[in-house]
């Protein structure tokens, strides 16, 4: 994950966990304090306050960590509710797009000063234990978010939105060569 280093550094002041966050919005280093670039208002995000200054981690960062941690579990086929997945599929078909799946799809977070609550929408594979998979997801998401951000993960709610069956998307035979 190339963004791993940036997460440990000062966060931006943008709080909304939406899909579009460009590289230029990430601030540059530990030397910077929590002051925002320009005069953007401080919106939602976690604040880890010490005597020497504070660290603000935006919601999008927590959502991204949670999304990637969930996808790391092999039982998770994809994330997001039906509509989000369809939109994501269309976006990935547009040439010239980012090409990578949106790590925050299917994740919504609520972040406070010291705690976070995470809601996930996942799609699992048919024939695999949803209980086992969601336990593994919960464990990994909690571990990664707590480990990387220092926030206490109060709850991880998992909504299994769909079950993927291999024959769901049959590959059409090539008629021409």
């Amino acid at each position: 994950m190339p963004e791993a280093n940036d997460r440990a550094k000062e966060a931006t002041s943008e709080g909304r966990s939406v899909a579009t966050r460009t590289a230029s919005e990430r601030s540059s280093g530990l030397a910077d304090t929590g002051t925002p670039l320009g005069s953007r208002p401080m919106t939602a995000g976690a604040s880890l306050i010490t005597d020497a200054g504070s660290t603000r981690i935006s919601n999008g960062v927590v959502a991204k960590i949670a999304g990637l941690a969930a996808r790391d579990i092999p039982g998770v086929f994809s994330m997001g509710t039906g509509m989000a997945r369809r939109v994501g599929q269309i976006r990935s078909m547009i040439p010239g797009g980012s090409g990578e799946t949106n790590a925050m799809q299917g994740v919504s977070v609520e972040v406070g000063e010291k705690e976070a609550a995470i809601d996930l929408d996942i799609v699992t594979w048919y024939g695999q234990s949803i209980v086992d998979i969601s336990e593994a997801v919960r464990r990994n998401v909690t571990g990664q978010v707590a480990g990387m951000t220092g926030l206490k993960v109060v709850e991880v709610n998992i909504n299994v939105d769909d079950v993927h069956v291999e024959s769901d998307q049959p590959q059409p035979e090539q008629r021409v060569q």
């Binding site: 941690a69 790391d72 092999p74 039982g75 024939g127 234990s129 086992d132």
Partner: protein, 102 residues
């Protein structure tokens, strides 16, 4: 011991037992231990710990006893005191033919 290490240790110990062809993939629902980056199919770290095998030796009860002992040894080594349930998902066809002929 981390879950994935325990699952891998169990998998290695169980497949080494004579009479075990491989870990089993369950009938219907795939038993597995999931961890970031992979899974161990055939071991389920529940209570009791489920160990699924494909046997290549009959009669089956002695094989199951050996597998249970091996699994218990691994768990004891990891400080876990859980019961072990051995599930025989399948038997290699050759083992049954041999039996029939002898």
């Amino acid at each position: 011991m981390r879950r994935e290490d325990l699952a891998h240790a169990l998998a290695t110990a169980v497949t080494d037992v004579p009479g075990v062809a491989a870990l089993g993939a369950g009938t219907g629902i795939e038993p597995a231990t999931y961890f970031p980056g992979g899974k161990v199919v055939g071991i389920r770290l529940s209570d009791p710990v489920e160990v699924h095998i494909v046997a290549d030796e009959v009669p089956l009860p002695p094989v199951a006893v050996r597998v249970g002992a091996a699994a218990h040894a691994v768990l004891a080594g990891a400080g876990e005191d859980r019961a072990v349930q051995v599930i025989i998902d399948d038997v290699v066809a050759a083992a049954l033919e041999r039996r029939h002929r002898s």
